[in-house]
C-alpha cells in the first residue's frame, strides 16, 4: 500500500513539473500542430532560427532583459549592503520600521501599485526608459536583497570584527577583510534572486516600460497573445536557463545559518 502511495505522489510531481516543461519543449520544435493531432504534424527548428536570428527581436529583448537585470542587481546591492549592515548591527533607530518599509511594496497588490508608479513616472518622463524599469525592478528586488543581506551580516559574529580591530585593522578594513567576505555567500544569493526576479518581471515592466522597452517577458507575452506559440515557448525556455543555473548556485551558497537569521 505504502509504495503505491509513494509512486502516486512521485508520478504526480513528475506530471505537474515536467509535464508543462515537456509541452513547452514540444511547442518549440513544432512547425505545424493542429487539433485533433496528439503531436505536431511537422517538426523543425525554423522558429529557433527566427528567434536566434541576429536581427531578431527576441535576441534583442534577451540582451535588454539581461542589461536591466544587471543594473537592477547593482542598484539593489548598492542599497542593501550598507542598509543590511546597519540593520544587522542594530545601530539604526526605528529598526523595525525600516525593515517594514522595505517589505511594504510586497504587502500591496502589484497591479494598483504599478499603475500608480507609472502615473508618477509619467510626470518625470521616466516611462519607457531603462532607468524607469530598473527603478521599478529595484523596489521589488530590495525586499529580498535587504532582508537577505541583513540576515547575512547578522550571521557574522561581532567578535570576529572586534578581533580584527584588536589586531590593528581600521573600521573600513575590518569590513572589507572580515565582515564582507563572511557575509558574501548571503549577499551573492540575494544578488542572484534580484537578478532572476528582474529577468522574469512582467507587470512593472509592462506598465512602466511598454511599448518602448521590450524585455523578454514582454515579448513572450505579446508573442503568446498574438498566437505565436512557438516564439513564446522558445522565449520561455531561454528564460528558464539562467533560473536553473542560478538556483543551483544559490543552493550551494545559501547556508542554513544565514536562513536562520532571516527577518531578525
Amino acid at each position: 500500500m505504502k509504495w503505491i502511495l509513494r509512486a502516486a505522489v512521485l508520478a504526480s510531481i513528475v506530471f505537474f513539473v515536467l509535464g508543462p516543461l515537456a509541452n513547452l519543449a514540444i511547442w518549440s520544435v513544432a512547425e505545424q500542430w493542429f487539433w485533433p493531432h496528439r503531436l505536431p504534424s511537422q517538426w523543425g527548428f525554423r522558429f529557433w532560427e527566427v528567434v536566434f536570428r541576429p536581427t531578431g527581436r527576441a535576441m534583442e529583448a534577451l540582451w535588454l532583459s539581461i542589461w536591466i537585470a544587471l543594473l537592477t542587481t547593482a542598484v539593489c546591492l548598492a542599497v542593501s549592503i550598507p542598509a543590511g549592515y546597519a540593520l544587522a548591527r542594530g545601530r539604526l533607530p526605528w529598526r523595525p520600521v525600516v525593515m517594514l518599509v522595505f517589505l511594504l511594496p510586497q504587502a500591496f497588490p502589484n497591479l494598483p501599485v504599478y499603475i500608480n508608479i507609472a502615473r508618477i513616472f509619467f510626470e518625470f518622463d521616466l516611462n519607457g526608459t531603462v532607468a524607469g524599469v530598473v527603478m521599478v525592478h529595484a523596489v521589488h528586488g530590495l525586499v529580498f536583497s535587504v532582508w537577505i543581506a541583513t540576515a547575512a551580516f547578522a550571521a557574522v559574529d561581532p567578535e570576529l570584527e572586534q578581533a580584527a580591530r584588536n589586531m590593528g585593522a581600521s573600521g573600513p578594513r575590518t569590513f572589507f577583510e572580515v565582515t564582507l567576505p563572511l557575509a558574501l555567500p548571503g549577499i551573492v544569493a540575494s544578488a542572484i534572486f534580484v537578478f532572476l526576479e528582474s529577468l522574469d518581471e512582467f507587470t512593472g515592466s509592462y506598465f512602466v516600460g511598454a511599448p518602448e522597452i521590450r524585455t523578454l517577458p514582454l515579448l513572450l507575452y505579446s508573442a503568446g497573445a498574438g498566437g505565436n506559440i512557438q516564439i513564446a515557448a522558445i522565449s520561455a525556455l531561454i528564460l528558464l536557463v539562467p533560473s536553473i543555473l542560478f538556483m543551483l548556485l544559490v543552493e550551494r551558497f545559501l547556508k542554513g545559518e544565514v536562513l536562520a537569521k532571516m527577518g531578525r
Binding site: D157, E159, L160, Q162, A163, A164, R165, N166, M167, G168, A169, S170, G171, R173, V178, P181, L182
Partner: protein
C-alpha cells in the same frame, strides 16, 4: 617588550546602568593580573574598556604613560584572546596568526617565518594550512593565543579563554599559558570566574563585586585574609556562623550560644557584639561530642545529616540548630550520628555582622 597599565577611577555604563563604579588598578610591566568575579560583576566590561570596545564614561586608562582612554581599539597595541576565540573561518590557521603582521606591513617572508615560529611555540606545527573549522577546541584556543602573541603585543588580554575547554585539558593549558607569559614577560590581564584558575595563574588577584574592587592582592593573601564577607565566600569560605564576640585580654571571647560553649580565640580584633565567622569545609574537623574542647578552637554541636564522597575524603552536611554546614573529614561516619564541628582559630574569618 611590555608596558605598565594604569586604570584610574574608570567608570562604564550600559544603557544607563552603571557597570563599573570607579575602578583603579595599576598593573606593573610583566605582571599577570586575574580579574575574578561572578557574572555581572563588571570584570569583562573592565577588560573591554581597556581594549577599547566599551566606551569609558569616566576616569582614564594609560598604557606606558600614554593616555589611551578614548583611543580606537586598533590603535592600542594590545592583543586579546576572546572567550569564543573569534578565529576567522575564511582564513587558514597561518592567515589567522599572520593577520596582525600583514596589517603592520611586514614582508611576506618575514610573516611566514614568524607564523611558523609561533605555531611551533604553541605545538601547532604542520597545521598552518588547515582551516580553523577543522581544529579541536584546544587547538583553536592555541591558534587564538598565537594570533595574539604574533604581533608582540605590549599587553595581553585574556577573556575567559579556558572556559570552553574540557576540564582535563584546562589544567594543562593553565600552566602552559602561565609558563609562556613568564617566558615572554608580557603584561597580562586575565578575566575569569574560576577561583582555582585565578589562583594558579595570576601574580595578583583582583576580585570585583558590583562594579568595584572588593579586594586585590597576591593569591595567598586574598585566600587567607579576605577583607569582607563577600570575598571570604567567593574564595570558598562559604560556611557562615553567627556569634557574639567581645574582647578579653587581647583575645576574642565568643559568648556561649545554644550550640557552643564560651571560648577564647586568638583572632584579629577588635570585635564587639554580633559577628559572622566564615570557614572552609576543608579547614574544619569533626570531633566526637564527649571529647573535651580543643584549645583555641570553636566547637559547634550538631548532627550528621548527609554524607558524600567527592574523592580522598568524606564531605558531611552537619546540622547545627536550624543551620547546615559542610565539613570534610577523612573518616567514614554514619548519617544520624551526633558530631561536633571543631574550628581552629586560624580557620575562622571574622567580620562584624553589620558588614554582612
Amino acid at each position: 617588550m611590555s608596558a605598565r597599565l594604569e586604570i584610574e577611577r574608570v567608570e562604564a555604563a550600559y544603557s544607563g546602568t552603571r557597570v563599573l563604579k570607579g575602578v583603579s588598578l595599576d598593573v606593573a610591566p610583566g605582571e599577570f593580573v586575574a580579574l575574578l568575579g561572578s557574572s555581572g560583576c563588571g570584570k569583562t566590561t573592565l577588560l573591554r574598556c581597556v581594549s577599547g570596545f566599551v566606551p569609558v564614561a569616566g576616569g582614564a586608562v594609560r598604557m606606558g604613560g600614554r593616555d589611551i582612554t578614548h583611543a580606537p581599539p586598533d590603535k592600542r597595541e594590545m592583543a586579546m584572546v576572546f572567550q569564543s576565540y573569534a578565529l576567522w573561518p575564511h582564513m587558514t590557521v597561518a592567515q589567522n596568526v599572520g593577520y596582525g603582521l600583514r596589517l603592520r606591513g611586514v614582508a611576506r617572508a618575514a610573516i611566514a617565518e614568524r607564523v611558523a615560529a609561533t605555531l611551533a611555540m604553541l605545538k601547532l606545527d604542520g597545521l598552518g594550512e588547515r582551516n580553523v573549522t577543522q581544529l579541536s577546541g584546544g587547538q583553536r584556543q592555541r591558534v587564538a593565543l598565537g594570533r595574539a602573541l604574533a604581533i608582540d603585543p605590549q599587553i595581553l588580554l585574556l577573556d575567559e579563554p579556558l572556559s570552553n575547554l574540557d576540564a582535563r585539558i584546562r589544567e594543562d593549558v593553565r600552566h602552559e599559558i602561565k609558563a609562556l607569559q613568564r617566558r615572554l614577560g608580557i603584561t597580562t590581564i586575565h578575566v575569569t570566574h574560576d577561583r582555582e584558575e585565578a589562583m594558579v595563574m595570576a601574580d595578583r588577584i583582583v576580585i570585583l563585586d558590583a562594579g568595584q574592587i572588593a579586594q586585590a592582592g597576591p593569591p595567598e593573601e586574598v585566600y587567607n585574609r579576605p577583607v569582607s564577607p563577600f570575598v571570604a565566600s567567593f574564595m570558598g569560605a562559604n560556611n557562615v556562623v553567627r556569634l557574639d564576640a567581645a574582647m578579653s585580654g587581647g583575645r576574642v571571647r565568643i559568648a556561649a550560644g545554644p550550640h557552643n560553649r564560651e571560648t577564647d580565640l586568638t583572632a584579629a580584633g577588635p570585635l564587639e557584639g554580633p559577628v559572622v565567622a566564615h570557614f572552609r569545609s576543608e579547614a574544619a574537623r569533626l570531633g566526637v561530642i564527649d571529647e573535651d574542647a580543643v584549645d583555641n578552637a570553636l566547637a559547634l554541636d550538631g548532627r550528621i545529616v548527609q554524607a558524600a564522597y567527592p574523592g580522598g575524603f568524606w564531605r558531611y552536611a552537619v546540622a547545627v540548630g536550624d543551620r547546615q554546614f559542610l565539613v570534610d573529614d577523612a573518616r567514614k561516619l554514619d548519617v544520624g550520628l551526633p558530631a561536633r564541628i571543631v574550628l581552629p582559630a586560624d580557620a575562622l574569618h571574622f567580620f562584624s555582622a553589620s558588614e554582612a
